[in-house]
């Protein structure tokens, strides 16, 4: 799971920065504060995380503490149990 951070970073760069990588995007950068993700982007991010990591994110888990930086996201994903394959 150690390579989660680069994967998330690549997703953010690809989908929210449209390929423009930026040195300002550190693992701790707040997506909202830095304007990388706006209010409509969070649900898109959740959809990606659920699909890619095969986890289910409940509404009450969609909070900045879990999602608002690359590091927080990585930590959150690692804390979640994998859904069993059907």
């Amino acid at each position: 799971m150690a390579d989660i951070e680069p994967q998330i970073r690549a997703f953010i760069v690809e989908n929210f920065l449209f390929g423009e990588d930026s040195a300002d995007l550190t693992p701790e950068s707040s997506f909202l504060e830095s304007g990388i993700i706006d209010s409509t982007g969070v649900l898109e991010l959740v959809g990606y995380i659920e699909k890619t990591y095969n986890i289910k994110i409940r509404d009450e888990e969609i909070v900045p503490e879990n999602l608002d930086s690359i590091r927080r996201l990585a930590k959150f994903i690692q804390s979640k149990p994998l859904l069993l394959a059907k």
Binding site: L17, F18, G19, E20, L32, G35, I37, D38, S39, T40, G41, V42, L43, D59, E60, I62, V63, P64, L67
Partner: protein
């Protein structure tokens, strides 16, 4: 009465009452009034005079609220700018208004100070937040918010009043079909009239706790702040609806009584699981900005059975025009009702004749809330404001096509121009096309709105490239992100060999 007296009267009457809840911070009326006084003295010390334009480009924060009040107390004209505005547009906005002060984040002062420092009319840039504000190339124009306010910490009274109520209180910028934003000039009289009318029909009292997730740079958002102060209520200010669960929890814990929606916020709300929340304190919900899909209203009625739902319509040029009484929401949910109190709204045909019930025509508005005109744009002003009922009176031609039913209820039909409504905000296709045309490799671009379940309309750009140009959709999107406000960035970019044409050679947007 001047707009800032909303705050001053409530501060005198209810000094210890909570005026503002923003994130972890809670301020009572005395505190917010004192901060606004300090800012007003600070602005005046920096040379701000009656009628000068002060631009506020901040996220929804305590400082943004203080900046609104402090600007008005200094006798200046408030100009709210969306915080996602990029440098070029920010400079052009400030240039158009000949603003003397910009209040923005410290981060923005670092990005923009060198370029903005060249604007000769701009005397001062106030940086909000932590970190170093000063830049060597700014010519000493940049000052930190805290540093500025600290000097006046013992100023408990406001500076002497310099305006009367026919003076300008705000320039409210709105997108125009020409692509160039227009600043609607609103006087204190206009803004007080609007707030009086809205709080009257919403039956607001000081027991109200109003939740605002809309940007304060958006008129509908700004009025939540002004009205909360007017009634002596509490404003719960959130940055956005990005994290619905966080906002819903806040709604319950603060016992919110009024919630201002646009259709996008309603769509996000309705996607959330609300089963565990108790919204019994929610007295009313309002919708404005764009027409709410009827299905959303039905679902909101089911979800919030005890809550009154007000469907409203307005435009920047007069803030609000009409509203549907909540007892009609199940009967005619697609109507926006009748004119708000102390105003008139009617339809006219192409020749300007007033129409009766069961008609279709352009909506015209009359009242003390109609703007004075567009800043520095006499031609556009003459198109929007035309002779009214009394000698020298002017009424507002909205450019919106409406119909009335048998009983005279108003229904929005369409814009008469091609303006897109996304997230409840007006988006000018021309403005986006202008930005796209400036991108090397783009021969032609056409922008339209396409239906979107969350945004209302999503922006779609169709682009024709030069031969052998290697640009991909993603490259064009990246360029848009760097040059346009968030809500203007296209959701879809399609590259085509040619644009469809009408027989006269114009781009046929219907075929896109």
């Amino acid at each position: 009465m001047l707009v800032q007296e909303f705050l001053e009267h409530s501060a005198a009457r209810l000094p210890d009452k909570t005026a503002l809840v923003c994130g972890e911070r809670r301020l009572n009326y005395r505190e917010i009034n004192a901060l606004a006084n300090q800012l007003a003295f600070g602005l005046q010390a920096r040379g701000v005079q009656r009628g000068d334009r002060v631009a506020v480009c901040l996220d929804n924060t305590v400082e943004a609220a203080v900046a609104v009040w402090g600007t008005l107390k200094a006798g200046a004209v408030l100009m709210m700018i969306n915080p996602s505005t990029k440098l070029e547009k920010l400079a052009s906005n400030l240039g158009d208004a000949r603003a003397t002060v910009l209040i923005c984040s410290v981060e923005k002062t670092r990005q923009c100070a060198p370029a903005l420092g060249r604007l000769t009319h701009l005397q001062c840039i106030i940086g909000v937040g932590t970190g170093e504000v000063a830049s060597e190339s700014d010519g000493g124009k940049v000052v930190g918010w805290t540093e500025l306010l600290e000097k006046y910490f013992d100023c408990t009274k406001a500076p002497a009043r310099v305006c009367i109520n026919v003076d300008l209180a705000s320039l409210m910028y709105t997108s125009g079909s020409t692509g160039e934003p227009k600043g609607a000039m609103m006087t204190h009289l206009n803004m007080v009239a609007i707030a009086n009318s809205i709080t009257l029909y919403l039956q607001n009292t000081e027991a109200d706790v109003i939740l605002n997730v809309l940007p304060l740079s958006f008129g509908y958002g700004l009025y939540q702040l002004l009205m909360a102060a007017k009634i002596g209520g509490t404003l719960v200010l959130e940055r956005s609806m990005a994290y619905p669960h966080v906002v819903l929890k806040k709604m319950v814990s603060e016992r919110v009584t009024g919630f201002a929606l646009v259709p996008m916020i309603a769509a996000i709300l309705l996607q959330s699981d609300m089963s565990t929340f108790n919204f019994s304190s929610l007295r009313y919900i309002t919708n404005a900005g764009a027409a709410m899909p009827v299905e959303h209203f039905r679902k909101l009625r089911t979800q919030f059975p005890q809550t009154q739902i007000y469907s409203m319509y307005g435009q920047t040029e007069c803030a609000r025009v009409c509203y549907l009484h909540p007892d009609q929401i199940d009967i005619r949910p697609s109507s926006v009702g009748f004119a708000i109190p102390n105003t008139e709204a009617w339809l006219v045909d192409e020749a300007g004749n007033r129409l009766g019930n069961n008609a279709r025509g352009e909506l015209v508005v009359r009242g003390a809330h109609v703007m004075l005109g567009y800043w520095g744009k006499p031609e556009e002003t003459a198109r929007a404001l035309r002779p009214g009922l009394l000698p020298h009176e002017r009424v507002l031609y909205t450019g919106d096509l409406f119909r009335t039913d048998d009983e005279g209820y108003l229904y929005f039909v369409a814009r008469r121009d091609d303006i897109i409504k996304s997230r409840g905000e007006k988006v000018s296709p021309r403005e986006i096309e202008n930005v796209l045309h400036a991108l090397e490799g783009v021969v032609e671009a056409a922008v339209i709105g396409v239906p979107d379940p969350v945004l209302g309309q999503a922006v779609k750009a169709v682009v024709v490239l030069k031969n052998a140009c290697e640009l991909k959709s993603k490259d064009i999107l990246r360029y848009c992100v760097a040059h346009l406000e968030d809500y203007m960035v296209p959701k879809f970019v399609e590259i085509r060999d040619a644009l469809p044409r009408t027989s006269s050679g114009k781009v046929n947007k219907r075929e896109l």
